[in-house]
C-alpha cells in the first residue's frame, strides 16, 4: 500500500548524481584550534547509566544543532518529550541531487548513528525508532547498498518522487506523533555522551560538476568553501558556488569568506555548459502537473507578473513549500519558485504595512 502511495505521488524523478561522493569514505578535515573541545560535566561517559533528562542536559552542554531545521537538539527533545512522542526517526533522506551528507555518515558511522538514535529515544520516552532513507536512488553504484538494518535499527525507505522530505511525517504517522531528528546531530549526541565533545564539526558534501574528487567531509564549523575546494580539488573554474542542496540552496557570492555551518549540508561548485536561454511562457502547464502540493504555479506566476497579488490567495500560494519542481520542469526556464518566494515576502511586507498603517 505504501509503495502504491509513493508511486502516485506528484513531483519529479531526478537524476540523483550522489556518486561518487556517497561511495567514498567519510573524511575529516579539521581546524586544529577547535578539534576535540570538551565540556565540563560530572555525568558518566556511559549511555546506559544516564537518564533521559541527563541526555537532554548533555545535548544542551554540547550545543548540538539539528541540521534538519536548525533547532537546538535539546529544545527539540524537550518539546518532543512533552508531546508524548510515539516514533523517533533518524532522518537521512537527502532527496536532492548531489547531496549525501546525511546518508554517508549513516553508512560509515553506523554504530554512532544507531547508538545516538537510541540515546535520543531514551530522552523522549522510549518510542519506536527508525532510520529514514530516500528510496528513489536509481543511479547508485553497485557497491553502495543501503542495508535493511543499521546497528539494530530498521531502515525505512521513503518512496516516491523528488520532494520526499516534506511528506516523511505521513509515512510514520500511523504509529502516532513523530519526531524527526537529523542523523548528523545524532552522531554528535553520541560523541557528546561518550566523549563529552562539544559540537565543533559538521558534515558537508563537496560535489558538483567542477569538483575533481566529490567527497563527504566532516569539517570544523567556520571553514570557507574555498578551503573545502582546495581539499577536494577543482577540475575547472566553478561557474557559481552553492551552499545547500542543488534544488533549494542559495548562491554563495563570496566563497573566500563565507563560513560553512551546521545547516550548510553541501557545498557545490557547478558550471552550466549551455548558455541559459529564456523563453516566454508557452502555457504548457507542466508546472501544475508536477507540483507536489497540487497548486497551479502557472496562474500564480502569471498573476505575480501582472502584479495582482490579491488574486494569489485564491490559488493557495501559502501552501507552496518552495521545493522548486515547477522551475525544474519549466521548458521556458522561468524562475517560478523564485518569483513565488519573492511574492510571499512582498505580501508579508504589505500585510505588515497595513497592520501598522
Amino acid at each position: 500500500m505504501k509503495w502504491v502511495a509513493g508511486f502516485f505521488t506528484r513531483g519529479i524523478i531526478l537524476e540523483q548524481r550522489k556518486e561518487p561522493a556517497l561511495r567514498r569514505k567519510l573524511r575529516t578535515f579539521l581546524n586544529a584550534n577547535y578539534a576535540g573541545m570538551l565540556f565540563d560535566s560530572n555525568l558518566p561517559c556511559d549511555g546506559a547509566a544516564l537518564s533521559g533528562d541527563q541526555i537532554i542536559e548533555i545535548a544542551r552542554l554540547a550545543n548540538i544543532v539539528d541540521e534538519r531545521d536548525g533547532l537546538f537538539l535539546h529544545e527539540k527533545l524537550t518539546k518532543a518529550k512533552k508531546m508524548k512522542i510515539r516514533v523517533a526517526v533518524g532522518d537521512a533522506i537527502d532527496d536532492e541531487p548531489y547531496v549525501s551528507s546525511q546518508m554517508n555518515p549513516l553508512l560509515f558511522l553506523q554504530k554512532e548513528a544507531g547508538e545516538g538514535l537510541r540515546l535520543a529515544a531514551k530522552a523522549v520516552g522510549n518510542p519506536k525508532i527508525y532510520f529514514a532513507v530516500y528510496k528513489n536512488l536509481s543511479d547508485l553504484d553497485l557497491k553502495t547498498k543501503i542495508p535493511k538494518e543499521i546497528d539494530g535499527v530498521e531502515v525505512r525507505r521513503i518512496h516516491g518522487r523528488y520532494p520526499a522530505e516534506f511528506r516523511t511525517m505521513d509515512d510514520f504517522d500511523a504509529d502516532g506523533p513523530t519526531v524527526l531528528i537529523g542523523v548528523c546531530s545524532l552522531i554528535h549526541l553520541y560523541r557528546a555522551v561518550y566523549e563529552h565533545r562539544i559540537q565543533s564539526t559538521c558534515f558537508v558534501t563537496v560535489a558538483g560538476s567542477c569538483v575533481a574528487n566529490p567527497t563527504n567531509l566532516e569539517v570544523s564549523i567556520g571553514m570557507t568553501p574555498t578551503q573545502l575546494f582546495e581539499r577536494c580539488g577543482l577540475a575547472e573554474e566553478p561557474g557559481y558556488v552553492i551552499i545547500g542542496g542543488s534544488m533549494t540552496g542559495e548562491i554563495c557570492e563570496d566563497p573566500d569568506h563565507y563560513l560553512v555551518g551546521t545547516m550548510s549540508r553541501a557545498v557545490l561548485a557547478l558550471r552550466d555548459e549551455e548558455k541559459k536561454r529564456r523563453y516566454q511562457c508557452i502555457g504548457c502547464g507542466r508546472c501544475a502537473e508536477v507540483c507536489p502540493e497540487n497548486l497551479t504555479p502557472f496562474y500564480i506566476n502569471r498573476y505575480i507578473e501582472l502584479g495582482r497579488y490579491e488574486a494569489l490567495a485564491f490559488y493557495d500560494i501559502h501552501r507552496c513549500i518552495g521545493c522548486g519542481t515547477c522551475s525544474y520542469v519549466c521548458p521556458s526556464k522561468i524562475d517560478i519558485a523564485e518569483h513565488i518566494k519573492q511574492a510571499k515576502g512582498e505580501m508579508k511586507r504589505r500585510r505588515q504595512e497595513r497592520e501598522v498603517g
Binding site: 519529479i12 531526478l14 537524476e15 508524548k84 541531487p97 504517522d173 502516532g176 506523533p177 573554474e237 566553478p238 561557474g239 557559481y240 558556488v241 552553492i242 542543488s246 534544488m247 533549494t248 540552496g249 542559495e250 548562491i251 557570492e253 557545490l268 557547478l270 558550471r271 552550466d272 541559459k276 536561454r277 523563453y279 516566454q280 511562457c281 508557452i282 502555457g283 504548457c284 502547464g285 508546472c287 501544475a288 502537473e289 497540487n294 497551479t296 502557472f298 496562474y299 485564491f314 490559488y315 493557495d316 501552501r319 522548486g324 522551475s327 525544474y328 520542469v329 519549466c330 521548458p331 521556458s332 526556464k333 524562475d335 519558485a337 523564485e338
Partner: protein
Amino acid sequence: MLQQGQKAPYVRNRDSAFTVMMDVVIALIPLYFMAFFFYGLRALMLGLASAAAAVVSDVACTLLEGKKPYPRDISPLVTGLMLPLMMSAAVPYYVVISASVFAIVFVKHVFGGVGQSAFNPAAAGFAFAVACWPTQVFSYPAPFSAPPAFQAVTEGLSSSPAWNLFQGGVPAEDVLDLLLGKFLGPMGLTNILVLATCLFYLLFRGAISWQAPAAFFGIMVVAMLLFPRIPDTGPMSLVYEATTGMWVFGGIFMLNEPGTLPKRSSSRLAYGALAAIFTISFQRFGRVEQTFAFALLLTNVFSFTLDRYSERLLRRLRRVYLATRTKLSEKKSAQRA
C-alpha cells in the same frame, strides 16, 4: 563568479520550449511526407509558403510591438505548417498565405503573443479560410493526380467522402483505401495510421499530456459507435468518420496546443469532453463538412473557466482533506490518552 543570475533550482530539466515545439514539427514531417507521396511537389510548396508567411508576419508583429525577434521561438512555424495540411492540395497559394497571416497577426499577436492567445491560431486560420473561400478549401484533387506545383489548379476537383457523409450518404470508397488514406481529402490528414503514430510519438516524448486527447477520443468514438450519422452501418460508421474527418488530426495537434489548453489535469479532461461534444453537435447541426476547427474555437473560450472551476474544487477538497486529517489525529491522541 563566472556565471551570474542563477536561481534555484540549479539543476534543470533538459526540455526547453524549443524542443517541445520541435517535437510537434517532427511529428508533422511524416504527414508532409504522405502529402508529398500523394500530391507531389505542390504539397511541400504549400507548406513552405504557409510557414514562411507565418514566420515573416510573426517577426513583423514582434518588431511592431517593439521587441527583439527571438529565433528560437518556433511556434509560428508550427502554426504555419499545420494550416495547409488541413486544406485541399489544390488550394491556391493566396488562401494558405492569408490564412496563416490571419492566424499569426489577428489571433496570436492581437491577444499578446506566445502562450497568451485566447484562440487556437491554426483553427482560427482554417476557419478564416473556410469562411472566405469554402469552394477552394473543400474541392480536392484525386491522389496521384500530380497537380502542377505553381499554377492554379482548376480541373479534376471534386468533393470528399466527408461531404458525402455530411449529405447523409455512405462513402463509396474501399475500406482499405480509407485506412491507407488513398481518397479525396485534405492533403495531410487522410492517413489515419500515420496520425496514430504521431499521437504515440508526441505522448511518448511528453510533448502533449494524455488527458485532453483521452477524453476527446473516448467520447468521439463512443458517440460515433452509439449514434452513427449514417444509420445501419454499425462500426463501419466509426471508420468512415475517423478517416474522413479532421477531428483525428485536430485532437492530436490542435487540441493540445499548449497556449489554449487548460493547465489542471481535471480541467483538461473536461476540456477534451467539451470539444468532443461541440464537434459532434456541430456535425449534426452545422453547415460545413469539417467542423472540428469551429468546435475547438468555441471550446477555447471555456479554457480559463474550466481551470477556475477545477481550482475551486481543488481548494474545497484540500480543506476537507486537511480538516479530516487533523480531526483523525486528534481522535487518535484522545484514544491513547
